[in-house]
Symmetry: C2
Subunit: 196 residues, 2 copies
Amino acid sequence: MARRDAQPRDTKDKILSAALTEFSARGYADGSIDDIAARAGVTKGAVYYWFHDKADVARDLQRQLAERLAEDAVATIDPADDAVTNLIRGFEAWLRALERHDEARFFLRDCWAIPELADSRREDWVGPVRELLADGIQRGDLAPLDADALAHVLIGAWAEGTLHVLQSGDPTSTVAVVRHVVESLIVTRSTAKARA
Amino acid sequence: MARRDAQPRDTKDKILSAALTEFSARGYADGSIDDIAARAGVTKGAVYYWFHDKADVARDLQRQLAERLAEDAVATIDPADDAVTNLIRGFEAWLRALERHDEARFFLRDCWAIPELADSRREDWVGPVRELLADGIQRGDLAPLDADALAHVLIGAWAEGTLHVLQSGDPTSTVAVVRHVVESLIVTRSTAKARA
């Protein structure tokens, strides 16, 4: 990925913002560097000064969006609460953040289907979830399952759940399903129950 | 999709078999019609006689593989059993079938990441699962959740779980997680418990 800090940052930001509009309007596959440059009001050369190719633009944009969206989710995490409460609150906050970013809805829908993006994205989300789960399992709050396998399965559930919310337009039933699945991890003993 | 029944079927089968080898060896993105034709020992024209383009070959191949793999899963469904037992047995049979098809492992890994394939594939799997769930929910065996949302969330969990098994090489921990999640759907009353 091209990173040259001598040029003013706002050209790069202008390009990313134009790319978001372009990908939202036409989809990633049909979006072009030519049109991104035109939307940003810069030359094609300026785009290639900052980015290697279209995938590089998309990766940067995806990282920026993921960070913006994750901020809301992470802000809901309270170390005093158990993993299950934090996971459910995090998922709901993530869905709410998505509602507020209309362009992000389109972009993220694309994002999951772009091979070169999917892999890096996956580990971004699996990592923090695995950590929350491992902690809860170690403390005996959660069922003694493999934290890595569990994190992958939950991320898959949430990703597909998010796509379903975006397609159906109604988060209620999907949130209820996710809540049910996550709550099923609670070890049923009085302390864990009282905390959840 | 081109379908002309005047030509012998085995040319088509030869092309599909060559495509599986090609996609397994080089990945879908890097696979080419030229190389598929060469592997099959047919002309490029013969490939285009049967298929519009590379995506058309991949779709046919994916459908063929999905049918072969689903056969094993569907064979485990027993209408006398409850939905949860059927779902867990189906997932395990699906994983076992995958073990036996070495080339399929590579192809299916690609498959989920190919936008033009992912959508049709998704509904292939969501449909039957939704039906099993709706039936279990209506009979009062399963938690009263939205069958459509639940089917999407479970398919996401299984898809990501399958990728995790393919990457880690060990199905045990993922099967335990899937079993835990699916069993959490059982309504805890004596009859449902006895049946599960």
